[in-house]
Symmetry: C2
Subunit: 186 residues, 2 copies
């Protein structure tokens, strides 16, 4: 089947992290739903880029479990994801069924807030390292994989983060096929 | 003064190239206007990400010359930029006054279509190399600078492309200040 990913977008999300993740996953053939935390209207991101979600999170959450749930960073966006009970429910349901849970930059602080995969190996933006260290085994690699948990550090690591999700959902051959046309830094 | 940049967004633009360019320039303190080629409504990009421009190109073009004009790639988007007489006028006016003209991926084909800076050193996405070679001195570096002309190769080179524009508009100190928090690949 075509793997499905849910990318949850909240006001203040880091737009590069959201867009690179969605775009690279779609290049890999993943069916990506960009869901707006507070509805289906345009979302103002951290550097004032306005993104139109595909649908509201409410609607997206009715479409069964996804193969992956992806959280972009951006301090404002991550704070909203951390405060949302709905996001907590969705993350817990996916983690319980061993689906891919992925978060980048400040995004992992939403995992912390909802007690998702505590104890596992993670990374995050260096600015939230101390916060994360309390409940996780903290590493400083650009992308950290522990089971189905994928975490990463910031805008500049998003290509590697998204390709790791594609690797998990679609396999190495897909990663090797979509990488050269993107002219990634070696 | 605060440097001003005009990023022209058309249907089919590569969303990573558009968003990374805008975001990185804004991190550098550039006043970036994301202008919609065909109006101010939401634009469907190459991998189905929907971006809401700040205003129409019509409106943005009334605000005087910018310090930089930036063209993202994406085949569909670049084709629309190449076919627009308005884009041709804007590029010519900025090139004539020695403002920064920047294009990435398939974006440089719009420069070719409008006869902008012909003969100068450029690069582009490898898939449009042959087209570009006819009228320019073609290089394969990740970012090529010739005077105020900045060109680059694809999604994976966009951080370097945007930082070169920031370097030109704001200086090296700004580049050094905004780079570490983005966790760029060395
Ligand atoms: Cu492209």
């Amino acid at each position: 089947h075509t793997p499905r990913a849910l990318l949850i977008l909240a006001e203040g999300a880091e737009e590069m992290e959201a867009v690179i993740s969605a775009d690279v996953m779609r290049r890999g053939g993943v069916d990506v739903t960009i869901a707006g935390l507070d509805g289906a209207t345009t979302i103002l991101c951290s550097r004032n880029v306005q993104l139109q979600p595909d649908m509201s999170l409410e609607e997206a959450s009715k479409k069964g479990l996804y193969d992956a749930v992806v959280l972009p960073g951006g301090n404002g966006g991550a704070k909203r994801l951390a405060e949302s009970a709905k996001v907590g429910e969705i993350l817990a349901a996916h983690a319980k069924e061993d689906r891919t849970v992925a978060a980048i930059c400040a995004g992992p602080t939403a995992l912390l807030a909802h007690g998702i995969c505590t104890g596992k190996k993670v990374t995050s933006h260096p600015s939230v390292k101390e916060k994360m260290q309390s409940d996780y085994t903290y590493l400083e690699d650009r992308v950290v994989v522990d089971g189905k948990l994928v975490t990463s550090r910031g805008p500049g690591t998003t290509f590697e983060f998204a390709l790791e999700i594609v690797n998990m959902l679609c396999g190495k051959e897909t990663v090797e096929k979509i990488s050269p046309p993107m002219l990634l830094k070696k």
